[in-house]
Structures are given as structure tokens and as C-alpha cells.
């Protein structure tokens, strides 16, 4: 046994007034899968970037296989066999897998690329590592998980021995996650070392050999994965005991009126014959695999996309939204799946983002009253639990959890009758998750009808009074949220159980 593959001592990094990393020691064994976990802002991404030379530490040292190293750039790190696969992939989407894998290290004679030689190298590479992707496929047309394989191949083609992966599974479905895990395990068996940063604690425990937990820019502890439990990780990450992940479920009154009634809703190629209803005070979860059409249904209900046939009723009145504006007018609010791409205007203040759909409410004599706007934005932000120095701060400067809460603050501007929340806790840390769950439960208790689209089964089971499961664009089951299990939902989601078992 030689020493560790990577050894860091006393790494510190400061960004302006923020201490991102403080005196961090880390040892990573060769051929291991080493996870870094922690809440947003705990410093795990910074550590990953320092290891791969993307960011330079202010102080501290690193040794690679016992030799001291200083990486001034990602290129220098790569020359030493260390690379990073970022959350946002860096492939050239219009070009083939083959070209992407060997980009910049093509076999060539003069200016000419030798395609035959490249093919041969590709086959050798894939055979030696056991990852198979069609070399002629255009990268942009591949799924995210295949694109990640291409990224890994690209790293290996450059003789990388230590690969840092930043949130590799954030955009993957469950089955894709399993495939990636299998690839990583197999490569680790052949001596490749992985350092991976992740939010998904169950996945981390299943995949990693060793887990380093970080909190407030420091390492809390490093321990074998087998020694940790879901709860022990959460307690160490948040620094406080978390007795319950989910708030207590309060069922809606038995005679609560139906707020949203969807019947036979169809949009060609996306979903067909979707029928369900949501009652006042009820939380209904729309579950299913990625691509089952859940977000499409959510958008159709909000008026953000059109439908071909079917009817919708809100509070027993016919409802045919032609645009998000008409949805808003009818009292429907949407929290979209991607807060950065669909929800927020990142370079505008918190206040602007909160009031955007309801600016009329803060107008005085046809002009926006900045004071009225700030007052209402402060009030709603406080109610949604947004932590910000001021509502004048740009949303970009907030953490992921706080950004998500800004979208909740927006829905609180007026009390909507129906809230549609698409993946409301995606990419937020554990503490913020609980706060968002509390908000959702609270809104329902106040009489809002809530439709939650979620890919996290835990969340679906923890929140929903009723679970509507979709499979390939159709509703395949409607389960009682108090008795549904992971198994019953997954069976339906994979299209295994023919009809709904029970309707609540």
C-alpha cells in the first residue's frame, strides 16, 4: 500500500469578504470514490475546483502521489492527471462523440486529422474502460447521462487518473443515475479515483467509499460511507438535530370543494387524456419518471403551453388559459422547474423579482411606487423566509435555497387559489428544503390548492395527500398519499400496474 493519491493540507480560500474554505485537510485514496457533501456554501465546490486547478487556494498545500503540486490552471492539473467535470457540461453539442472525446488531442499529420487513427484510439479507450457510446452520434442529441459518459471518456483520453465531478447527478433520472454509478464503480475498480460533490445523500451513501462532510467552509469529518446514515449526514451537515424532514401532514377537510378539475386534457406528443382534481387545502403530487409529461401538464394548467383538447375548471368555472397572464388572472401561480432559466431575472433585485407579475399592485397614479414595492417585497420575502441583506440585492447573489424562496415570495404577492410547484426543492440544501416544505404545507393549510411536481419519491410521500402518477403522458394511478409507498409509486411510474389502485 502506497500513500494516498491526493493529500491536501491547510487549504484556505477567500472570496472578498467570504471565507469559502478554511484550513481544509483531505486525503483521497487511489481508486476510491470519495464524496464531498455539505449544504450550499459549505465549500465543497470550491474544494473540488481547487483540486482540479480551476481555482487557486490562498494558502495550503497539495500532494499528488506524495509529490507536492501547485496547479495554476486546469491545464496544469490535467497534465498531472487531474481534471474536473463541471455541473454544466462543456462539450461541443454540434459535433460527434468521437470529435468531442479527442478535441485538442487529435491524431494528426500536419493540418490533417487522421480519422482512422482516431477511431482506433476510441475503440481501444472504450474497450479498456468499459464505457460504450456510439462514436458517430452527435453529442447534442444524446441524453444527459450519455453526455456525461462522453465527458468521462474525454477525461480518460487525456490520461486523467483523478476526476472531480461536481453534482454529476443533478440533472439525471433515477435510472441514469444508476448507470453513471455503475460506470464510476467499474472505473474505480481499475484505479481511477473520483472526488464527487453531491446533494443527494442516499445516492452518496450508495456510491461512495468515503464521505467527507463539510460545514461553514471546514471539514466536519471524513469517514467510511458504511459508517454514515442519512440522519448522521444531515446532522453533521446542518450542525443541528433534525428530528423530522417533513412537516406533519394535515389532510384537507372531507367536504373541501374541488378547486382545479382537469378532464381529458390532451396535448399531442406530450400528454393524453389527463384527468384529476385538486381540492381546497389539498396537496396533490404529480409523480412519474422524467419525460412522463408532468411538467407539460403543469405548464398547460398555468397557461404557459396550449392544449389540443380536454377541459379545465377552476372553482367550478370554465378555465381556458391562453397565456401565463390568463393563468395568473384566474388565480393560478407557477413555480417553474428551473429557477434560473424559467423563474428568476438573476440580475435584477429581489424586489423586482417578487413583484414582476403583479406590478399593478404597487402602482400609484400609473407609476411604480418604489416605497410601496419595497414594503410589499420585504413583507412577502420575510413570510417566505428569504434571507437577504436587502430586497435591493440582486437575486444572483443569493444561495439556491433563497432564490427558490424568492419565487415563493412572488406567489404570496396575491393569495392564489392554486399553486403549481414544479420540483420546488431541486438543488437546494437540506435546511432550505425543510423550510420550503413548511411553506407548502402552510399554504395548503390556509386553503390553497397545491399541485407539486416532484421526481423525489421521499418528497412525494412526505408531502402529498394524494399522488397522481404519470407514465408516458398518461395518468396511470391515483394513490392515497397516506398509504402510498415508494414501491407502489414506482410500479405505476414504470407502467407496471395497469389501473389506479385506489382513489382518495
Amino acid at each position: 500500500m502506497s500513500g494516498p493519491h491526493l493529500s491536501c493540507r491547510g487549504l484556505s480560500k477567500r472570496y472578498g469578504a467570504t471565507q469559502a474554505l478554511a484550513e481544509v485537510d483531505l486525503d483521497v485514496e487511489r481508486g476510491s470514490i470519495h464524496a464531498l457533501v455539505g449544504e450550499n456554501g459549505a465549500g465543497k465546490s470550491t474544494l473540488g475546483k481547487i483540486i482540479a486547478g480551476v481555482v487557486q487556494p490562498d494558502s495550503g498545500s497539495m500532494e499528488l502521489s506524495g509529490r507536492p503540486v501547485h496547479f495554476g490552471s486546469p491545464r496544469q492539473a490535467l497534465e498531472a492527471g487531474v481534471t474536473i467535470i463541471a455541473q454544466e457540461l462543456s462539450l461541443v453539442p454540434e459535433r460527434s462523440v468521437l470529435e468531442n472525446v479527442f478535441l485538442g488531442i487529435e491524431s494528426s499529420r500536419g493540418p490533417w486529422v487522421l480519422r482512422q487513427a482516431l477511431r482506433r484510439r476510441f475503440t481501444e479507450l472504450t474497450d479498456s474502460v468499459g464505457i460504450y457510446v456510439d462514436p458517430t452520434a452527435i453529442v447534442g442529441r444524446l441524453g444527459v447521462s450519455d453526455q456525461q459518459k462522453v465527458e468521462i471518456l474525454r477525461a480518460l483520453a487525456r490520461k486523467a487518473e483523478l476526476i472531480v465531478m461536481d453534482e454529476p447527478t443533478a440533472r439525471l433520472s433515477k435510472s441514469e443515475t444508476h448507470a453513471l454509478a455503475a460506470t464510476m464503480t467499474a472505473l474505480a475498480g481499475r484505479g481511477t479515483t473520483f472526488v464527487f460533490v453531491s446533494h443527494f445523500l442516499d445516492e452518496v451513501r450508495g456510491l461512495a467509499d468515503t464521505i467527507t462532510i463539510m460545514r461553514d467552509s471546514r471539514v466536519v469529518r471524513t469517514a467510511p460511507s458504511a459508517d454514515e446514515t442519512h440522519d448522521s449526514l444531515i446532522v453533521a451537515m446542518t450542525g443541528r438535530p433534525l428530528d423530522m424532514t417533513f412537516p406533519f401532514k394535515i389532510p384537507p377537510a372531507p367536504d373541501a370543494p374541488v378547486v382545479l378539475d382537469v378532464s381529458g386534457l390532451t396535448s399531442a406528443g406530450r400528454f393524453a387524456d389527463v384527468s384529476f382534481s385538486v381540492r381546497k387545502g389539498e396537496i396533490v403530487a404529480l409523480a412519474g419518471l422524467v419525460g412522463a409529461g408532468r411538467s407539460d401538464v403543469a405548464h398547460a394548467i398555468y397557461g404557459a403551453s396550449s392544449v389540443d383538447s380536454g377541459t379545465m375548471r377552476i372553482n367550478d368555472a370554465e378555465y381556458r388559459p391562453s397565456s401565463p397572464r390568463s393563468g395568473l388572472r384566474a388565480g393560478v401561480a407557477l413555480i417553474p422547474e428551473s429557477r434560473k432559466d424559467q423563474g428568476l431575472i438573476l440580475d435584477r433585485p429581489v424586489s423586482d423579482n417578487v413583484t414582476l407579475p403583479y406590478l399593478r399592485d404597487v402602482e400609484r397614479f400609473g407609476l411604480i411606487s418604489v416605497r410601496a414595492e419595497d414594503e410589499v417585497a420585504e413583507d412577502r420575502s420575510a413570510r417566505a423566509g428569504v434571507k437577504t441583506s436587502s430586497v435591493e440585492a440582486n437575486v444572483r447573489t443569493l444561495s439556491g435555497g433563497n432564490q427558490q424562496k424568492v419565487l415563493f415570495a412572488r406567489t404570496l404577492m396575491r393569495q392564489p387559489v392554486l399553486l403549481v410547484a414544479d420540483e420546488p426543492t431541486r438543488g437546494v440544501d437540506v435546511g432550505a428544503k425543510r423550510a420550503i416544505y413548511d411553506l407548502i404545507v402552510d399554504l395548503a393549510a390556509q386553503g390553497m390548492a397545491v399541485l407539486v411536481v416532484s421526481s423525489e419519491l421521499e418528497e412525494v410521500l412526505g408531502l402529498a395527500h394524494r399522488v397522481v402518477v404519470m407514465h408516458e403522458g398518461r395518468v396511470v394511478a391515483s394513490l392515497d398519499g397516506f398509504v402510498a409507498t415508494e414501491e407502489s409509486i414506482m410500479q405505476a411510474a414504470f407502467g407496471l400496474s395497469g389501473n389506479g389502485e385506489s382513489s382518495a
Binding site: Y15, G16, Y302, A304, S323, P324, R325, G327, L328, L334, P336, D341, Q342, G343, L344, I345, L346, D347, R348, D352, L356, P357, L359, R360, E363, G366, L367, I368, V370, R396, R410
Partner: protein, 312 residues
């Protein structure tokens, strides 16, 4: 995040303009005179009128190269319509209306046709330039009623009416952008179109309005210029749009959309004007002036790109 860098990006242009002003005041005797400063303001009126509304288009994520063409077409149409009985008010009114129509055309093409704004307005520029030749028959149209100059040159409180019109335009654009729903929507659409749409912003309408206002300003500015010079002539001159975009960008409004401000454009216009004035008073070759202007624009756009990369 680099604080010094962020500050330089936010207020650098103000310091640069002040510094330039002081430098000229100290080194160039003819600079700090009432006449010279009044002249600078008067000369920049036309640019300023167009630039503040072009700023709104840029913040909304659009781009309008057809403003030059509109600026040229508007007075020609107006002068054609009133062959004998020339009136300054009709010139301004018709010229502005022509601008509105051209702006509406641009807005519709960009919003509904989903065509890249730069290419779309380049195409409409050719159309509008062509119309200008058709309307004028290729000849210079002269204003025979010399009284019409008054609309641009009347002095009120020692400042020309053209300058006053520009001041009104600046104030109107500021209020529109900072204090109305339309202004907020402009920032939202330019910052993130899909987020704006899902927040209920009528994206197409906002884009059409932004282009319409810009067209209006170009029509107004073109008519004002014709009244001042007593002539109007068809040409393919893109000069105005270059000056305008240069001023907007030097002021610090991002060409990527989503951020910027009217005061920035005002500072940008005067920065470039001071630069030119300083060169002229010191008898520096106009060719050198061009080269320096080009470098200044590169520096401004470079600063914008650099600060964007820092933020990621």
C-alpha cells in the same frame, strides 16, 4: 467577486467623463466657455434623443440598426406631403409618425417573426433607405420657409429648443424605464425571456413597444435635424446608428440585454462628444479621432465582457 472591478464597471464611465472634462478645462482655453458648452449640448441633442430610446431596445435584448434609415426617411416624407405650405409643426408631427410606423414594422418583424433583431433591422434598413430614395426622387429637398428653423433653434433660458426636446426625451425615457410596468418588463425580457414569459410578461408586446419608441425617436430626431439644416436628402448613411450604439455601450449598458440605464447613455453621449470637441479644439486629425473612438468602444465592451465572466 472583485469589489474594485465591480465599482470601476459601475461608475468608471462617470469618472472618465469628469476627468476628461477637467483635463479639457485645464489644457484647452476655448473649452470652458458658455458658447462652446452650449454648442456641444445643441450638437448632441439629436444623438441623445435617439440614444436614450435605443438604450431601451438594447436593455430589452434587441438591437436596432434601422434608426439611421428612419432618421433619413422621416423628414423626406413630411416635406413631400406639404409641397407648398411648409410648417414646422407638420414636419415634426409627420416625421414622428413615420418613425412610429417604421418602429412598429421592426417590432412586429422581430417579435412575431422571431428573426434576430440585428439581421431584421439590417433588412428593414435597406427597405427604408430605398423608400427614402423613392420618396425624394434622389434629390435634395429644401425647406424654403426659413422660419421653420425656429423649431430647433429658439433659445429658451439660453438653451436651444433642440436641447430642451432632448432633455424632455431623457426624462421621459428615465421615467418609462425606472418607474413604469413597461420599464420593468423591458429589463425582465432582456434579462431572461422565458422567466419573463412565465411571470406573465407580455413579451411580444414589450418588444414591439420598445422598437416603436426607438422608431419614434429617430423620426423626431430626423425631422428636428432637417428643420435645423433646412434640407433633407436620401442616403445610405449608417453614421447615426454607429454613434448612438457607441454612446450607449460606452455608457455601460450591456449589449447582452437585461441591464443598463438612461443616465449611463447620457454620460456616454457626452463622453464621446467631449472627446470629439477636445480633439477639434486642439486641431487633431479627424482620422486619429476615429481610431481613438474605436479604441474607447472596444475598452467599454471589453469591460462589460470581463465583468460578466467574473460573475460566473
Amino acid at each position: 467577486m472583485n469589489k474594485v472591478g465591480a465599482y470601476a464597471r459601475n461608475y468608471g464611465i462617470v469618472w472618465a467623463a469628469l476627468l476628461l472634462f477637467l483635463l479639457l478645462a485645464i489644457t484647452t482655453p476655448a473649452f470652458l466657455t458658455v458658447d462652446n458648452l452650449r454648442n456641444i449640448m445643441d450638437q448632441q441633442a439629436v444623438t441623445l434623443i435617439v440614444a436614450v430610446f435605443a438604450t431601451i431596445v438594447l436593455i430589452s435584448g434587441g438591437f436596432d440598426v434601422s434608426l439611421s434609415a428612419v432618421y433619413i426617411l422621416a423628414p423626406l416624407v413630411a416635406l413631400r406631403m406639404m409641397e407648398s405650405n411648409q410648417s414646422g409643426w407638420i414636419l415634426m408631427l409627420v416625421g414622428t409618425a413615420v418613425g412610429v410606423l417604421c418602429g412598429l414594422l421592426n417590432g412586429f418583424v422581430v417579435a412575431k417573426g422571431r428573426i434576430n433583431a440585428f439581421i431584421a433591422t439590417l433588412a428593414t434598413s435597406l427597405i427604408i433607405f430605398g423608400l427614402a430614395y423613392l420618396v425624394s426622387g434622389g434629390s435634395i429637398l429644401r425647406i424654403t420657409n426659413v422660419d421653420m428653423r425656429a423649431i430647433a433653434t429658439t433659445k429658451i433660458l439660453g438653451i436651444t429648443s433642440a436641447t430642451w426636446i432632448a432633455v424632455v426625451c431623457v426624462v421621459v425615457a428615465m421615467i418609462l424605464l425606472e418607474r413604469t410596468r413597461f420599464g420593468r418588463y423591458v429589463f425582465a425580457v432582456g434579462g431572461n425571456r422565458e422567466s419573463a414569459r412565465l411571470a406573465g410578461v407580455p413579451v411580444d408586446r414589450v418588444v414591439i413597444w420598445a422598437f416603436t419608441l426607438a422608431g419614434l425617436s429617430a423620426g423626431l430626431a430626423g425631422s428636428l435635424n432637417a428643420a435645423r439644416t433646412l434640407t433633407a436628402q436620401a442616403s445610405d448613411d449608417f453614421g447615426l446608428v454607429f454613434t448612438v450604439i457607441a454612446a450607449v455601450v460606452v455608457g455601460g449598458t450591456s449589449i447582452a440585454g437585461g441591464s443598463g440605464a438612461i443616465w449611463r447613455t447620457v454620460v456616454g453621449v457626452f463622453f464621446i462628444a467631449l472627446l470629439g470637441n477636445g480633439f477639434n479644439l486642439n486641431g487633431i486629425d479627424p482620422i486619429v479621432q476615429r481610431i481613438v473612438q474605436g479604441l474607447v468602444i472596444l475598452a467599454a465592451v471589453g469591460a462589460d465582457a470581463w465583468s460578466r465572466s467574473q460573475r460566473e
